[in-house]
Amino acid sequence: MVASSSARHETWLWFAQRASALVLALCVVVHLITIVYATRGGLSGAEVLDRTRGNAAWLSFYAVFVLAVAVHVPIGLRTIAIEWLGWRSRARDGALIVVAVALAVMGFAATWGLFR
C-alpha cells in the first residue's frame, strides 16, 4: 500500500513539524529574553562560561532546543525543495537527513562545549 504509507509518512512529518514548532516557540522566547536580560550590563566570554559550565538546567534546555531545530528545519526544507525546486527523488530525503544530523551534531557540540 504505497498510498497508505505515504499518508502515514506525511502525517507524521506534519505532526513532528507542529510539535517541534511548539517547542521552538517556547525555546526561542526563553533564549531571547535570557540574552537581553543577561547582556544588559555587558557580558564577557569568561562570564558566559562561568554561568554555563556544569549547569545541568542550561544543558538540558539547549539540548531540547537543538533537538527541536534538528527536527523542524529539515522538514521545512523538504517542503521548499518540493515547491521551489520540484525535487522529489529519494536523494532529497537522504540530503535532508544529512542536514538534520549536521544540525544536531553542531548544536550538541556547541552546547556541550559550553557545559563542560
Binding site: 497508505s4 505515504s6 499518508a7 502515514r8 506525511e10 502525517t11 515547491e83
Partner: protein, 235 residues
C-alpha cells in the same frame, strides 16, 4: 464606454481590447456576452445560470478569480478599464474557457464522493443538526465547484499535484457525514504526498470563495483528523 481587455487564444495567446457601452447594474458576464454577440462571435466563454448557482462562469477579472455573473462592473472597473482572463491554475481550452477535468479528477482522488452503508431496507439515519459533525458538514456543503478557490491557491500554482481547496473541503464534509462508510480510506487519500498537509494556510481560497465557505478551516480539520488517525494507528 468601457475599455475591456480580454485574453484570446489558448496556451499561446494575447490580450485583445474591446469597447463596450456602460450600463447600469452591468455585470462582467454581461460585458463578455456583449463582446461575443456584438463584436466578435468567435469569443469562447462558459456560463449557464447567470445567477450564481451553477458555478460555470468563473474567470479572472483584474487579476482576481470571480464569478463574472455576480460581479458588477462598477465594483471592479478602474478608470473604465477591465481585464478578463481565464481562471488560473487550469489549462486553457480557448479564450476564457478552461479545462476543468483535473480539478474534478482531484475531487475523485480525494474520495470526495459519498459512500453509504445502508440499504433501502434500513431505516433513515438520524442526524442531529446541532451535533458538532453536522455543523462542520453544513459549513462546507454549499460548494458548487466553480474553481475560484483552486485558481486562487498559491500551493496549486507551486505544485500541480496538490489536491486543492475544493476537493479537500468536499472530503472534510464527508469525513463529518456520520452515514458515510469510507472515513479511513478518505483520510488516507487526503493525507498523501499532495494532500492536506501541503496547505500553507494562506487563506486565499477562504478570501475568494463566493459562497463564503472556508476551505482553510476544512483543511485544518483534515489535518487534525489525520493526525488523530495516525496516533491511533488507523492511517
Amino acid at each position: 464606454m468601457l475599455q475591456v481587455s480580454v485574453w484570446r487564444g489558448a496556451g499561446e495567446g494575447r490580450y485583445v481590447d474591446y469597447e463596450v457601452p456602460r450600463q447600469t447594474s452591468q455585470t462582467v458576464l454581461d460585458v463578455v456576452t456583449y463582446i461575443q454577440r456584438r463584436l466578435d462571435s468567435t469569443l469562447a466563454y462558459r456560463y449557464a445560470c447567470r445567477v450564481g448557482m451553477c458555478g460555470s462562469c468563473a474567470m479572472t477579472v483584474n487579476g482576481v478569480a470571480r464569478w463574472t455573473c455576480r460581479t458588477h462592473v462598477s465594483a471592479v472597473a478602474k478608470d473604465d478599464r477591465v481585464q478578463i482572463a481565464p481562471l488560473a491554475n487550469l489549462p486553457v481550452v480557448r479564450d476564457l474557457v478552461t479545462d476543468m477535468r483535473e480539478f474534478f479528477n482531484k475531487w475523485s482522488r480525494a474520495k470526495g464522493y459519498y459512500q453509504g452503508t445502508r440499504t433501502r431496507h434500513d431505516d433513515f439515519a438520524a442526524v442531529k443538526p446541532q451535533s458538532k459533525q453536522a455543523q462542520a458538514l453544513q459549513a462546507g456543503i454549499e460548494c458548487i465547484g466553480c474553481g475560484v478557490c483552486y485558481a486562487s491557491c498559491d500551493v496549486v500554482s507551486w505544485r500541480a499535484d496538490y489536491l486543492g481547496p475544493a476537493a479537500l473541503n468536499r472530503a472534510w464534509t464527508l469525513v463529518n457525514d456520520v452515514r458515510d462508510g469510507a472515513r479511513s480510506e478518505r483520510l488516507r487519500a487526503v493525507a498523501g504526498d499532495a494532500g492536506c498537509h501541503s496547505c500553507h494556510t494562506h487563506m486565499s481560497c477562504t478570501e475568494r470563495c463566493p459562497k463564503h465557505i472556508s476551505p482553510t478551516a476544512s483543511i485544518a480539520g483534515l489535518k487534525r483528523a489525520t493526525a488523530r488517525a495516525a496516533l491511533n494507528g488507523e492511517l
